[in-house]
């Protein structure tokens, strides 16, 4: 690798060629401010359109100022990042961006975590000298995501996520100049686009232009209604990230505090989605073994590989893009949606509570879950199995608004029976976790032998597409794993083209899995945070007394008392679903 020497603010930096000035400056302790620039290191995600010009620097001998995020180093370069010319230009650029931005910080959903707001603070902007016309565009509310384009600064991060990383193609910059906005095709509402509600656009949006639909109010009202029994379930990834909202270090597990906070909020029963994740493993694992056994017996009709179906963003993705392959994913519902009917039809009935009087709330790292719980097939006579889905961020707001001093809470335990879970279900929150959990159970069910080594380290990691072969006592099982929908697309295209040799594939829509979900505390491009959340989940798994889903005593009881057997008749009715073809163009009728 050729090294290049240059001088930045009088300091000598030596970096490999093809390094940007922005990164070169970091090596000598200079932090050039950026706005449109975005990177998730080690995850192949980068956005540097050089559009906002906040990062401009002076390069000696160059006529105009250079955007540091998009200018490569050269031998002998002399760079000034904070001389008077640069400072004035940077301030003017920011003032101009602010002049077309609604001053709604007091009520904006993004206030406090807005990068534009922080930038205005950092540069000490106290007034906006330019008063001119402001862009006006309609607000677009979908089942999960709100677009408020007036707050958009055209950084193009969402477009990069939606197109390059997720290959969903719901968003693009349209029109030009002052009229330019980021929008779906024909400027229709998001709901009519191929959007999967993965929420990665929301995760990276620097301002309040893209936010989640907030259901906290509905939950507050339900909690205040004495005729309702309000039950809450919490997804695995939430406990690994919620602490960040209260100033705790990323990767701090706050399971006990979270349970205590939920109880103080007034939920009648604090349960765990992890319980339903164990249930998912029973159903999905049984389905995998059934397909595998039939395949090994020479059944030509059996569809392999089996694909996991826990992730609603992923389900939306294949319904839109690969509808002809919708008989390949497992028919098992996601843990959120398995929990709903078990809470209402099993637990509720046991207590004599009518399902109309039970409100099930889920706390999710995810925005697609908001859409998922509204799907018609997950309702009984109009009553949804899961009434409201709140993001990790919404839960944090709810806790803060209820005068709960989160950090001083003593740890508390989940209620039974739907609060007991195993280590296998905890790792559902990270890429590779679902398939590892499935392997732990499928191995024992298939080989009828005890699995001694429960850690399948070969399934862990953050590489985009991973594969491993697991030895089922002489039978090699080929496993594929993808996180991020663009990576999932590659695996699907291989299956479609008959090039796939996998028996089972796990797919999660978000980079890193649910820990990097669209409803998590904002990581602002720090991929270390995502890694720390993953290690927190593996830590919780390692510390659990039971680490295989089928050994969860309450799962065993549920089958004994109510469901019968996995993939049995009642399971099929309550815990499995079917998928739809959503590929139809908006205009062209096939």
């Amino acid at each position: 690798m050729n090294m290049v020497k240059l001088i930045i603010d009088g300091k000598t930096a030596e970096v490999p060629e093809n390094t940007t000035l922005l990164k070169a400056a970091k090596t000598v302790g200079i932090d050039i401010p950026t706005l449109c620039y975005f990177e998730l290191k080690d995850m192949n995600i980068e956005n540097r359109p050089g559009g906002c010009r906040v990062c401009v620097v002076e390069v000696k001998g160059r006529r105009n100022l250079a955007p540091a995020c998009n200018t490569m180093v050269a031998e002998g370069m002399e760079v000034y990042t904070h001389n008077i010319r640069v400072l004035n230009a940077r301030r003017t650029v920011l003032e101009l961006i602010l002049s077309d931005h609604p001053a709604e910080c007091l009520t904006c959903a993004k206030s406090g975590s807005c990068e534009l707001q922080s930038m205005a603070q950092q540069l000490g902007v106290r007034e906006i000298p330019y008063q001119g016309e402001q862009s006006k565009y309609r607000k677009d509310t979908s089942p999960a995501i709100i677009r408020d384009v007036d707050k958009c600064i055209m950084c193009r991060r969402c477009e990069m996520m939606c197109n390059d990383v997720q290959t969903v193609g719901a968003l693009s910059a349209v029109n030009r100049g002052f009229m330019a906005v980021v929008a779906p095709a024909f400027e229709m509402n998001l709901e009519k686009s191929p959007c999967t509600y993965c929420g990665q656009c929301v995760s990276v949006c620097p301002t309040g232009a893209l936010t989640e639909v907030d259901h906290s109010r509905n939950v507050i009202n339900a909690l205040a209604d004495p005729t309702k029994t309000v039950v809450v379930q919490t997804a695995p990834a939430v406990r690994a990230a919620l602490g960040e909202e209260f100033g705790l270090a990323p990767g701090t597990l706050v399971t006990g505090k979270m349970v205590a906070a939920l109880r103080r909020l007034g939920f009648d029963y604090v349960f765990d989605t992890d319980f339903a994740a164990d249930l998912t493993i029973m159903e999905e694992g049984t389905e995998l073994l059934d397909r595998l056994t039939r395949y090994l017996k020479g059944d030509k009709d059996v569809k392999l590989p089996i694909l996991t179906s826990c992730c609603p963003g992923w389900v939306n993705f294949f319904e839109h893009n690969f509808p002809e392959m919708r008989d390949i994913p497992s028919t098992a519902k996601s843990p959120q949606q398995m929990f709903g009917p078990i809470a209402k039809e099993y637990f509720g009935k046991k207590l004599g509570i009518d399902r109309k009087n039970m409100i099930v709330v889920s706390i999710m790292p995810c925005l697609a879950k908001k859409y998922e719980c509204q799907r018609d097939e997950f309702k009984v006579d109009g009553d949804p199995d899961v009434n409201y889905s709140l993001s990790t961020r919404e839960l944090a707001h709810l806790i803060k608004a209820s005068n709960i001093d989160f950090n001083s809470l003593p740890a508390d335990d989940f209620d039974n029976p739907l609060g007991e879970s195993t280590g296998a279900s905890v790792i559902f929150g990270t890429t590779g976790g679902v398939i590892e959990a499935a392997c732990r159970t499928a191995y024992e069910l298939y080989t009828k032998k005890k699995l001694e080594k429960v850690d399948f380290k070969e399934l862990r990691g953050l590489e985009n597409v991973r594969h491993a072969t697991i030895d089922f006592d002489g039978l090699p099982i080929n496993i594929g794993i993808a996180h991020g929908l663009g990576n999932a697309r590659k695996l699907l295209e291989d299956i479609r083209d008959g090039k796939s040799h996998f028996h089972a594939i796990e797919i999660m829509a978000c980079p890193g899995g649910c820990i990097g979900g669209g409803g998590q505390p904002y990581h602002h491009g720090d991929s270390e945070i995502i890694k720390l959340r993953a290690s927190a989940l593996y830590r919780e798994d390692a510390g659990k007394p039971i680490r295989k889903s089928h050994e969860n005593p309450f799962i065993q009881e549920l089958y004994r008392e109510f469901l019968g057997k996995p993939c049995g008749e009642l399971s099929h009715h309550l815990l499995h679903t079917h998928y739809f073809d959503k590929s139809a163009g908006v205009f062209v009728e096939e």
Partner: protein, 159 residues
């Protein structure tokens, strides 16, 4: 936006256009250019077919169509009226001529009259600066047009 169904023949034509460019997504602008020459405009349906053939998102195609002023999603009128707003025409009062066309045809730039007869657009210099201000209707050039001559031009085509 009205929903129209493209005929099988039309869809095949568009597919053929994409094919002449090897269904290469890098050729999107050329494909759109050619597609627009087929029917004079690029309705949503056409963009969906092209997106599918070139394997790009419809949002991306729409983004390109709305970025370049040459592309239009409005069908052109039978008599497309173009007013030159190049420097020479501009200083000799082209803007007032444009305003008069807008007023008499009751449409804005980029629009088409409800009867489909006239559409209005602006262009930059047709190379007839000596005749400024210049108006084109179809292929015919009108020179030294003044606002009070607009009615006569419209009348010439309104029979």
């Amino acid at each position: 936006m009205a929903k129209i169904k493209l005929s099988e023949k039309k869809i095949q034509e568009l597919k053929d256009v994409c094919k002449t460019f090897n269904n290469d997504k890098g050729e999107l602008i050329n494909v759109l250019h050619k597609a627009q020459s087929l029917s004079g405009y690029l309705p949503a349906e056409v963009q969906e077919v092209i997106a599918k053939e070139l394997n790009v998102s419809v949002a991306h195609v729409y983004g390109v169509v709305t970025f370049y002023s040459f592309f239009t999603m409005q069908p052109k009128g039978i008599h497309p009226v173009s007013i030159c707003l190049g420097t020479a025409c501009y200083v000799r009062g082209a803007e007032k001529v444009l305003e008069e066309f807008k007023r008499q045809l009751k449409i804005q730039v980029g629009e088409t009259t409800p009867d489909g007869k006239f559409s209005l657009s602006c262009l930059r210099c047709v190379g007839a600066c000596g005749l400024a201000p210049v108006v084109m209707v179809g292929e015919k050039v009108f020179g030294r047009v003044a606002p009070d001559g607009v009615a006569d031009i419209i009348a010439e085509y309104n029979t």
